[in-house]
């Protein structure tokens, strides 16, 4: 943008942007507003709609199943922060080590699950957790650890942890790639001078790599929150929200209300609720993290 002569006319820029913006408006912005409108109606699909004002929202605030699924979302976010970002960070640090050979192969293998469809991952892990034929129980048995075997997907106490594992496993590679890219943008001179000052190994990571990546880390945390607030497919496949509602997440609760119970108005209200909760979580995380720094 430095040279004005190379800059196309505003009209041209607008023309290039228009198709994308139009599509985006059509499939995201407009439905969003429609769903906001639906949330004020008693609407079961079809032609009959009855305006009921804020009644849906009044129900939503008192709906323990909704807050239960919000709690599940929070647990998944927490586990993912530790699991996805934490493990990815550890692997990144290892990847920086000069001792590691065949870096490209490691990177590709770790990234592989990211491209697999969530439905496939869900099915895969359903089989892994299976009581009689599951890989997990087979491993525990062959290691002589039968006492550790629990009904992975059947006990409401642990089910939310069980269903979080595939989600964590799948997305480690995604954050790894982001972190590796961030590390590559750290100038080599800094490392060289650090070497001269005697900062090697873990010290190098603690005092140079991670502080210089902190912006990327913030983005990763935000992506983690946004991604896990709308998590749906893994859990839909693995447990369907069961047993009972013990692994229900908000997105699935909205789906069940809209399309299984035919309460589209209430389902829309739930969606709006998810939007509000997600945005406030993200803003909160920014406040907590970015508070001391001077930028907005």
């Amino acid at each position: 943008m430095t040279s004005r002569t190379l800059r196309p006319k505003n009209r041209v820029i607008a023309a290039y942007l228009a198709p994308g913006l139009l599509i985006y408006c059509f499939i995201v912005i407009i439905p969003l507003f429609i769903s906001l409108i639906y949330s004020f109606y008693n609407y079961s699909g079809g032609a009959s709609m009855k305006f009921i004002g804020l009644t849906n929202y009044r129900h939503l605030i008192k709906d323990m199943d909704f807050w239960g699924s919000f709690k599940n979302n929070l647990i998944i976010i927490l586990l993912s922060m530790v699991g996805q970002i934490g493990i990815a960070l550890v692997i990144t640090v290892f990847m920086m080590s000069k001792l590691l050979k065949l870096k490209a192969i490691h990177r590709n293998i770790i990234f592989l699950p990211v491209v697999v469809s969530a439905i496939v991952v869900g099915f895969l892990w359903t089989i892994i957790y299976n009581k009689d034929f599951g890989l997990l129980n087979f491993l525990l048995k062959s290691l002589g650890l039968e006492s550790l075997i629990i009904p992975w997907l059947d006990n409401p106490k642990y089910v939310i942890i069980s269903v979080s594992m595939p989600i964590i496993w799948q997305y480690i590679g995604f954050y790894l790639v982001i972190f590796l890219a961030a590390i590559q943008s750290i100038p080599n001179e800094i490392y060289e001078s650090a070497d001269l000052d005697g900062a090697v190994g873990i010290k190098r990571s603690m005092y140079i790599t991670i502080p210089l990546m902190s912006d990327t880390l913030k983005v990763a945390v935000m992506l983690c929150i946004a991604g896990n607030m709308k998590i749906f497919d893994h859990i839909y496949v693995m447990t369907g929200g069961g047993p009972g509602t013990s692994s229900m997440v908000m997105a699935q609760y909205a789906y069940i209300n809209s399309f299984i119970m035919f309460k589209l108005g209430y389902g829309s209200a739930i969606s709006v609720g998810i939007l509000v909760l997600s945005l406030s979580l993200i803003l909160l995380s920014r406040k907590l993290w970015g508070g001391k720094n001077n930028e907005a």
Binding site: K131, P243, I274
Partner: protein, 455 residues
């Protein structure tokens, strides 16, 4: 740079969240107004041109070509015959598997974009009627006595609202049957299938002592426990009058002691380890696997599983398979031969169809529900909603004959998920998953269901 990165990150986060909220809204919009206008125009010209004018209809159903289930085979045969006899009627089919079909028809109904002919579930009728998506079918059926007479008694019950029928049934389901392995039973020292509740629990304990899973249950889809067990078990305790009173809102409550006893009986079975421990994480296909392997002595599912057992079970298991019903319960008001039965699904046509299109649509529906269809269906080991003309019993598998003998003695009572509304059923089904792992008491679950019922 930092600021740009921050802006970008916030934008991306917002984007991801937005894309979710957008999912909640259906794409509605598109209406059939141009379509119905066209059909109206067609009607005026077509009626003068005679009945051979070309008609095109869209038909979404749940019988894909490769399906080996009896109803699907019969459907394909009948529809192919219809197509060759009526070259002027073009049918644009969209076949889907059962579960996908259910999702699709719910979504289409919510978006007001139903095809010309579709299949509706009993629990959906009230929502469809409320939105004027379907019309009653009584007039059409009454005009054709031969068609009408062929239907079995009670076939229309799942679709009757305010005295009018809103669907043409094609199958007759008994959602509860106990498939049991008589060899495993006799190995455990049980000579005959138990005829009362204490014998039944004794038998379960004997099977357990042998290291066999007494009842294999796969309730991940959360309808199995309610549709295949509780609908019948409930009736054993409450009797059918209670259900009628519930359906017509005439005073019966889910918190009545009889219904709570039924829930309690189900939970007691789970508490005495009558079921496998992973009952909430396997589905109804997987519940049969344990039975096929000889690891489980019983499973409970409807009559649709008969063709599965015939096609999939190893021969020695199939030969030892017998059918039974839940035994009578102590102090129950219901009949011991009562069995949750009904059509569950039925055809109907889009309420916007008119003239020739409407006539053609009903003509198609007659072809896939009448006595000729029933004959093919029975011979494919399925159970249609009409009486077949004459069947060649030698074409039937032995298990089908066992079933037909049992079915002749059965007294049909309502299937909960075919007659109660979808939101109530969702609460009940979710609750049953918890009930079976002792996560909620029968009394609390009954209160929860009652609260949803009163909404």
């Amino acid at each position: 740079m930092k600021k740009a990165l921050k802006c970008l990150s916030l934008l991306m986060a917002a984007l991801m969240v937005f894309s979710l909220a957008a999912c909640g809204a259906s794409a509605g919009g598109e209406t059939n107004s141009s379509d119905s206008a066209a059909s109206g125009a067609q009607q005026s010209t077509a009626s003068s041109a005679g009945s051979q004018a070309p008609v095109t209809l869209t038909f979404t159903h749940m019988f894909p070509a490769g399906d080996t289930e009896g109803n699907a085979i019969a459907f394909r045969k009948s529809l192919d015959k219809f197509k060759s006899e009526n070259p002027n009627i073009t049918i644009n089919e969209e076949p889907l598997s059962h579960d996908n079909y259910e999702t699709k028809v719910r979504t289409l109904a919510a978006g007001n974009e139903l095809p010309d002919i579709f299949i509706v579930k009993g629990s959906m009728t009230s929502m469809f009627i409320e939105n004027k998506l379907i019309n009653p079918v009584d007039d059409v059926i009454n005009r054709d006595p031969e068609w009408k007479e062929a239907f079995l008694q009670g076939a229309f019950d799942d679709f009757v609202v305010d005295g009018k029928s809103y669907g043409i049934p094609f199958q007759m389901l008994n959602t509860h049957l106990i498939y049991y392995n008589k060899k495993l039973f006799s190995d455990a020292g049980i000579t005959a299938f138990p005829s009362n509740w204490s014998e039944f629990t004794d038998a379960i304990n004997k099977l357990k002592a042998k290291g066999i899973i007494p009842i294999s249950l796969g309730n991940k889809g959360n309808w199995v426990a309610e549709s295949c067990i509780l609908s019948t078990l409930g009736d054993r305790y409450t009797g059918t009058d209670w259900f009628k009173s519930i359906k017509e809102k005439k005073g019966a409550k889910f918190t009545d002691p009889e219904f709570i006893s039924a829930l309690k009986a189900l939970q007691d079975l789970a508490k005495m380890d009558a079921f496998n421990t992973d009952l909430n994480s396997i589905d109804n296909m997987q519940q049969k696997t344990a039975y096929y392997n000889g690891k489980a002595a019983m499973f409970m599912e409807g009559n649709w599983a008969i063709s599965n057992v015939i096609n999939d079970a190893p021969k020695d298991i199939l030969d030892n398979t017998e059918l039974a019903l839940l035994p009578a319960v102590d102090g129950g008001k219901g009949d011991a031969m009562a069995n949750s039965a009904g059509a569950a699904w039925a055809y109907n046509v889009n309420s916007e169809l008119k003239g020739d299109k409407l006539a053609a649509a009903y003509k198609i529906l007659k072809a896939v529900t009448d006595a000729d269809y029933a004959t093919v269906s029975v011979e494919s080991n399925a159970f249609p909603a009409s009486n077949p003309k004459n069947i060649d019993k030698s074409k039937l598998a032995p298990l089908s004959i066992k079933y037909l003998d049992l079915a002749a003695k059965i007294k049909p009572v309502p299937i909960y998920d075919a007659q109660l509304s979808a939101d109530l059923i969702q609460v009940m089904n979710t609750g049953l998953q918890e009930l079976l792992i002792d996560g909620i008491s029968p009394e609390d679950l009954a209160k929860k269901i009652q609260a949803e019922y009163e909404k």
